[in-house]
C-alpha cells in the first residue's frame, strides 16, 4: 500500500507536466498502478480537466443529425453570452456515407480533448448491416461504460406522476449492443448478447459509488434472470457482490417487465436503478416520458478517461428539425453537466438556474411539453435570466 500511495503522490507532482499521459509515466517509473477502480474515477479527483490551455477548455462538439445542430448552436450561443471559458472543436460526422473515417476523426478528437458534447447521429438501417451505428461505435471505442440519467420531476411541467427522482445507470458498451450478428442458415439470424463479469462488476461499482456520493438509499438491479439465467444471472450476481461492500445502501432486484409496470403506476418507489444495456434503453425512455418527455432530460456517458454528454433519450428528431420548435432544455442541461465535469461549477449553476426558472414560465413551453413557444424564445429567456443574476455576460 505504501508503494501505491508513493505512486499517487509522485503522480501529483508529475501531473502538471504530463497531463493526461499519467499511465505511461507510471510505467516508466517501474511501478504499476493497481486496477482502475482505485483511481476514484467517480469523484474524478485524479483526472485533471483535460485540454486546458490559458484557462480555457477545449471540448469536442459533434452536431449530428436532425435537431442536433440547431440545439448545439443554442448551447454555443448561451456559452458565448455567459462568457464560459470553453472552446468547441466541431467535428462533423456524415451518417450517409459507409466509410468510418468521419467517426474515427470524431473519436480521435475526443481522445485529444477528453470531453465531448454531441447530438445524435442517425443510423440509416436501410444500409448494409456492416455499417454499424456510429453512436454505438463511439461509445465502445472510448469505453464509455456508464450511461447516467437523472430523471426528476420539474416543477413547471405538467405530468401524470409527481415527485419522481430516479437515477438510472445503464451499462453502455456490451449486452445486446455488441453488434455481433450472423446468418447461420439462410433465413435464420443469430444475434449475440454478451455479458461479462468485468463489465458487470464495473457498472455495479459505479452505481453504488454514485449512490453513496449523492446520498441515495437504495439501488435496484433490473434484469430478466428468470429467462436468461446465465447472462442476466451473471449480471445480478455481480451486483450482489458489489452490494455486499456497501452495507449502508439497500440493494434489491426487479424483473424488467414488472419494473415497467411499476414505473407507470408508482414511479416514486424507485431511487437508483442499475441495469444492462437494452433494459436501460427501455427504462430510461419510460422514465424520460414520465417526467415530461425527451426534450427535458440530459444524459451523460462516462468512462474512466472520457466523458460525452448528450440528451438522455438520444433522439434525432428529424421531423422537428429546423422548425424552431425543438426543446433546448435537454441539451442545455447536458452542457451544464459537462461544465460540472470540467469543474466550472459556477457557470453550471448559473445556466441551470436560468433554465429551471424558464421552465416555470408555462407560456414559453415548447410543443413537446404542451405549449406553443419557440426554441429561440426559450433560449432568449434563459439568457435574460443569466444576465439578471448579475454575472459577467458579453455585449449582446
Amino acid at each position: 500500500m505504501a508503494a501505491h500511495s508513493a505512486v499517487l503522490s509522485m503522480s501529483k507532482i508529475i501531473k502538471p507536466f504530463w497531463g493526461g499521459h499519467l499511465g505511461n509515466t507510471v510505467k516508466v517509473f517501474g511501478t504499476t498502478l493497481t486496477s482502475h477502480r482505485n483511481k476514484s474515477s467517480l469523484t474524478r479527483e485524479n483526472i485533471p480537466p483535460p485540454a486546458k490551455y490559458g484557462g480555457r477548455h477545449t471540448v469536442t462538439l459533434i452536431p449530428g443529425d436532425g435537431i442536433g445542430p440547431e440545439l448545439l448552436n443554442h448551447v454555443r450561443e448561451v456559452f458565448r453570452f455567459s462568457c464560459v471559458p470553453v472552446d468547441f472543436e466541431v467535428v462533423h460526422v456524415n451518417s450517409a456515407v459507409e466509410t468510418e473515417d468521419d467517426i474515427n476523426n470524431a473519436i480521435t478528437a475526443i481522445r485529444r480533448n477528453g470531453v465531448a458534447l454531441k447530438g445524435n447521429i442517425e443510423t440509416k438501417h436501410t444500409m448494409a448491416p456492416s455499417v454499424k451505428s456510429r453512436n454505438n461505435l463511439l461509445r465502445t471505442s472510448l469505453d464509455l461504460y456508464a450511461n447516467v440519467m437523472h430523471c426528476q420531476s420539474l416543477p413547471g411541467v405538467q405530468t401524470r406522476h409527481k415527485n419522481i427522482d430516479i437515477m438510472i445507470i445503464r451499462e453502455n458498451t456490451e449486452g445486446e449492443y455488441s453488434s455481433l450478428e450472423h446468418e447461420s442458415v439462410s433465413g435464420v439470424v443469430e444475434s449475440l448478447k454478451i455479458i461479462t463479469r468485468n463489465n458487470s462488476l464495473r457498472i455495479a461499482d459505479y452505481a453504488f459509488k454514485l449512490a453513496r456520493e449523492k446520498g441515495r438509499r437504495r439501488v435496484t438491479a433490473v434484469h430478466k434472470a428468470n429467462i436468461m439465467k446465465l447472462g442476466d444471472g451473471l449480471f445480478l450476481q455481480c451486483c450482489r457482490e458489489v452490494a455486499s461492500g456497501y452495507p449502508d445502501i439497500t440493494f434489491d432486484s426487479m424483473i424488467v417487465d414488472n419494473t415497467t409496470m411499476q414505473l407507470v403506476s408508482k414511479p416514486q418507489q424507485f431511487d437508483v436503478m442499475v441495469m444492462p444495456n437494452l433494459y436501460g434503453n427501455v427504462v430510461s425512455n419510460v422514465c424520460a416520458g414520465l417526467v415530461g418527455g425527451p426534450g427535458l432530460v440530459p444524459g451523460a456517458n462516462y468512462g474512466h478517461v472520457y466523458a460525452v454528454f448528450e440528451t438522455a433519450t438520444r433522439n434525432t428528431g428529424k421531423s422537428i428539425a429546423n422548425r424552431n420548435i425543438a426543446n433546448p432544455t435537454a441539451m442545455l442541461l447536458a452542457s451544464c453537466m459537462m461544465l460540472d465535469h470540467l469543474k466550472l461549477y459556477d457557470h453550471a449553476s448559473s445556466i441551470r438556474n436560468a433554465i429551471l426558472n424558464t421552465m416555470n414560465e408555462t407560456r414559453l413551453h415548447t410543443a413537446d411539453i404542451g405549449g406553443q413557444g419557440t426554441t429561440s424564445e426559450v433560449v432568449q429567456t434563459i439568457m435574460r435570466f443569466i444576465q439578471s443574476k448579475g454575472q459577467l455576460t458579453s455585449e449582446y
Binding site: P129, L230, T260, L278, V286
Partner: protein, 346 residues
C-alpha cells in the same frame, strides 16, 4: 383467425385449466357467469402437471393434450412456476406442445378503474417462440456469457401475418412494428423486412415502424396514438406488461395465445396469489376478460359483449369491488353482481 361456424345454441367444448392458487375459485366464477349468460360453452376441466413421458422428455398429461386437440380452444388460470423441480415451467411446455406462436394482449382502459392513463385502446402482439427467449446460452470463458437471440424468416412472417389478420378482423386501423434495427441490424432487420412484405398484402391497414425506445417514450406520454403493435419476443414481453400497467395491472388484463392448427389458449397472466387462495378474495376480472376474448375469437360476439358490459358496469359502479380494485367485497359477491347485471340485460 379461426372462427367457428355453428348453428345457434350448438354447444362448443372448451378445455378449462383452472390452475393453482386462486385459479380454481376464479375459474368457477367464470363458469358461473357463463352459465348465467347462457353461453353455449361446455367446459372440460383438465389438469396440467408435468409428467415424464417415454424417452424421458417432460410433457403435459395426455388427457389434457387430447382434450385441447379436439376442442382447439382453451381457458387457463394461473399456473405455479416450479423452482428446482427439474422440469421446465408449464407455460413453456404448453407453448411448445401447441406451438403457441402469438401472444395477444388487448389493453383497453376500464372505465371505473381509474389509472393516470385514460382512453388506452391498443393491442400488443408478441412473437412467442423465438427471439431472446430461445434459451440458448453459453459460458464462453469464465466470466463471459453469451446469450443467443434467434430471429427466423418463418416465425417473423407468421407473426406479421397474424397481426395483420387480427387487425383486419377486429376493425383496427394500423399495425406498428416495434424493433431496434439500428442496433441489431440483421436480426431486427429481418423481422422488419418480413413485416414490410406482409404489409404489401394488406393495403387497407396502415403500416408503420417505430424504434422500441421511441415507443416506450411515447407510450407513457400519450398511449392513444397506438393501435396494434407487433414485435419480437423480448420487446413484446416488456411492452405488453408496460401496457398492462397503463390500464391497471395484471389483475385486469386479458391475454390470448394463438397456436398453429387453429389452437388458441386464453389465460389470465397474473400469479397464483397463494396468500389469498381459497379465501374468496380473488378478483376474477382478468380471467373473465380473457374468456370474453375467447368468445370473440369463437365468433360469439353477442355473449362476449354482454358479459364484458356487465363486468365493466360492476366495476364502474364501485359498490362491490374486490380488494385489489379498491373495495372490500368477496369474489362471490363480485361474481353475483355481474350475474345479476347479465340477467337484467336479457
Amino acid at each position: 383467425m379461426y372462427t367457428h361456424t355453428h348453428t345457434f345454441k350448438e354447444m362448443q367444448t372448451v378445455t378449462l385449466i383452472p390452475g393453482d392458487g386462486i385459479g380454481p375459485e376464479i375459474s368457477s366464477a367464470v363458469m358461473k357467469i357463463f352459465e348465467t349468460a347462457k353461453a353455449p360453452i361446455r367446459w372440460e376441466e383438465r389438469n396440467v402437471t408435468a409428467i415424464k413421458g417415454p424417452g424421458g422428455r417432460w410433457m403435459i398429461p395426455p388427457d389434457a393434450k387430447e382434450s385441447m386437440d379436439k376442442s382447439k380452444i382453451g381457458l387457463k388460470g394461473p399456473l405455479k412456476t416450479p423452482i428446482a423441480a427439474g422440469h421446465p415451467s408449464m407455460n413453456l411446455l404448453l407453448r411448445k406442445t401447441f406451438d403457441l406462436y402469438a401472444n395477444v394482449r388487448p389493453c383497453i382502459s376500464i372505465e371505473g378503474y381509474k389509472t393516470p392513463y385514460t382512453d388506452v385502446n391498443l393491442v400488443t402482439i408478441r412473437e412467442n417462440t423465438e427471439g431472446e427467449y430461445s434459451g440458448i446460452e453459453h459460458v464462453i470463458v469464465d466470466g463471459v456469457v453469451q446469450s443467443i437471440k434467434l430471429i427466423t424468416e418463418d416465425a417473423s412472417r407468421r407473426i406479421a401475418e397474424y397481426a395483420f389478420e387480427y387487425a383486419r378482423n377486429n376493425q383496427r386501423n394500423s399495425v406498428t412494428a416495434v424493433h431496434k434495427a439500428n442496433i441489431m441490424r440483421m436480426s431486427d432487420g429481418l423481422f422488419l423486412r418480413k413485416c414490410r412484405e406482409v404489409a404489401e398484402n394488406y393495403k387497407d391497414i396502415k403500416f408503420t415502424e417505430m424504434y422500441l425506445d421511441t415507443v416506450c417514450l411515447n407510450m407513457v406520454q400519450d398511449p392513444t396514438q397506438f393501435d396494434v403493435l407487433v414485435m419480437p419476443n423480448l420487446y413484446g414481453d416488456i411492452l405488453s406488461d408496460l401496457c398492462a400497467g397503463l390500464i391497471g395491472g395484471l389483475g385486469v388484463t386479458p391475454s390470448g395465445n394463438i397456436g398453429a392448427n387453429g389452437v388458441a389458449i386464453f389465460e389470465s397472466v397474473h400469479g397464483t396469489a397463494p396468500d389469498i387462495a381459497g379465501l374468496d378474495l380473488a378478483n376474477p376480472t382478468a380471467l373473465l376478460l380473457s374468456a370474453v376474448m375467447m368468445l370473440r375469437h369463437m365468433g360469439l360476439h353477442d355473449y362476449g359483449n354482454k358479459i364484458q358490459t356487465a363486468c365493466f358496469d360492476t366495476i364502474r359502479d364501485k359498490k362491490v369491488l374486490t380488494k385489489d380494485l379498491g373495495g372490500n367485497s368477496k369474489c362471490s359477491e363480485f361474481t353475483a353482481d355481474i350475474c345479476r347485471r347479465i340477467q337484467d340485460l336479457d
